[in-house]
Assembly symmetry: C2
Homo-oligomer: 325 residues x 2
């Protein structure tokens, strides 16, 4: 029997570890940092204890995306991908990887993507939202025209792209002023990644590259709940959006949604009602979430006998289909 | 048979009409502005044609909340409430109202709330998010300590408070730069109102005033989808949030959610699975949405025979229970 495969499971290297620290209070950091750096014992034990056959590894956030010197971003991305590849080589039956990419230099990102997929065996790429480029104050979203060649290469290479959360630009901080508990995964990460995804859809990206495979975590960062309304208002307000098709069509055709950090049946059902269980991929968000919490919920979760709403074994098969794992 | 009651149905007075114009392209504005100003023929015809017995009227957005001179805010709020009361008096079987409030001056807001409820017969109040106070650049959210006496009075008066969307502060604009179609109801309104509601819950407001009745439009501005995750992360990150209870408990106990602008069954089901159909209130968001679209969807929508998930006649009865209409 095929066990579960966890898609969004993070690690860190020495150079990127500190990036995750600011989102967590000192009390929880020792355990988190230890788990982020471990690519062996702790991780395998967690998996064994909870019926997770395989983890798809990816770097922590924002990591590469905040290294504003392009050359350094390239160097650290390579190092992270190499370390990940070594972990996969040590346990090829238990680990695979989604590559980190130095989006500060689109040509270098293309080269590193090729190297990671073809030489290192990565089954996808994971980018932490916008990149800071040249200076910490210059933020570039992935709908910027300079990334069109990257998306063209990604489509040709036919591997999935995971748009993973990072913190919004500092100009957005006033909205949660006085409420530090809303920073990060509790709230602002999801908004940032949702709006980034809306930018990509609205820009016409998926018209230009209709075969892109795009993954969102956290059951789609609220988009399954509200994309009908967003589309309805965009149509009614008729402001000349470049996208040629209704946004829910791109979500149905180009997107896959993972359960990372969203172990909630009502939200899962909403997502499956919109896009079908074929588009649901299992994920934990380890070590920020517990493998046990994700697995206990997922194993017990039974929402329907209907084919379109089935979950369980199928959601790991989905990942095989998506990545050619 | 009891027909539908639409809870979030807007009008404008001459002084506030222009506030809605910037969120809509010139092509749709003539019809919208005509419908906003009409408190008679157009509205009643829409209602008659679609089985809507009653509309609960409320002012457009941001209206009072953007009038940064407190004295002027008081004056315009009174005028709007008076004009609304006249419309209700002309058609008492078809209209009721939620009062606009000049939150720029909390004492004046309390006085106007009393006048609106006791003298004018308003069945609730509706505020468009944060207020600009003293200058256009000073934005004050409703979790500010200066509003605690207002919330105390609201609880005593036992009428519901509708937190209605407005645009985020300008400092947030960069997140959608180059994508004007994401401004307003398509995206940024909902984020703004969701985060405002999170601020209120996190501040301990509902611990201090446990009987507050708080309404959100658009099926809860994505919160039913993601509140489990927000709570999960707030707990895990342990940053000392003042709220004494888990946020989903406040939502279940203090909140009601309307269908305004969210005519989507999967999202409705998610919301009902979390909070029960008792907390769903029917609403259109007229004239920004069509009464026909809301009613056709709602009348056809059948999600379950289970009591907790029933919709239809019950959702208008809910409003009677909530407002003592």
């Amino acid at each position: 029997m095929l066990g579960k495969i966890g898609l969004e499971e993070h690690f860190a290297i020495a150079e990127t570890l500190g990036d995750s620290e600011k989102f967590h209070p000192p009390g929880v950091w020792p355990a988190l940092s230890r788990n982020l750096l471990d690519l062996m014992e702790i991780r395998l034990r967690e998996m064994d204890e909870n019926g997770m056959d395989m983890m798809i590894l990816s770097l922590n956030s924002p990591a590469i995306q905040m290294i504003y010197e392009p050359q350094k971003a390239v160097e650290i991305a390579k190092k992270a991908n190499d370390e990940m590849a070594e972990a996969v080589a040590r346990n090829p039956k238990r680990f695979r990887g989604f590559a980190a990419l130095p989006m500060q230099d689109p040509d270098a990102a293309i080269m590193e993507m090729h190297r990671a997929v073809k030489d290192l065996g990565c089954v996808g790429v994971l980018v932490n939202g916008y990149s800071q480029i040249g200076s910490p104050e210059k933020y570039v979203y992935l709908d910027d025209p300079m990334y069109r060649p990257f998306w063209a290469e990604l489509e040709k290479l036919d591997v999935p792209f995971y748009n993973h959360p990072r913190e919004p630009m500092p100009c957005n901080d006033k909205q949660i002023e006085g409420h530090p508990w809303l920073a990060g995964a509790a709230w602002t990460f999801g908004v940032e990644t949702a709006v980034h995804t809306l930018r990509l859809m609205c820009s016409g990206l998926f018209d230009e590259f209709p075969k892109l495979k795009y993954i969102l975590g956290h059951l789609g960062e609220t988009l399954p709940f509200c994309i009908w309304r967003t589309q309805n208002r965009i149509e009614k307000e008729a402001r000349g959006v470049p996208a040629k098709r209704p946004l829910p069509e791109y979500m149905a055709k180009n997107m896959w949604l993972t359960t990372s950090g969203q172990f909630r049946t009502a939200a899962l059902l909403n997502t499956m009602m919109e896009f079908g269980s074929d588009r649901i991929l299992f994920a934990t968000d380890f070590p920020f979430e517990e493998v046990k919490d994700a697995c206990d919920w997922f194993d017990a979760c039974s929402v329907s006998d209907n084919d379109r709403l089935k979950i369980g074994r199928e959601n790991s098969v989905n990942l095989f289909k998506l990545t050619g794992l």
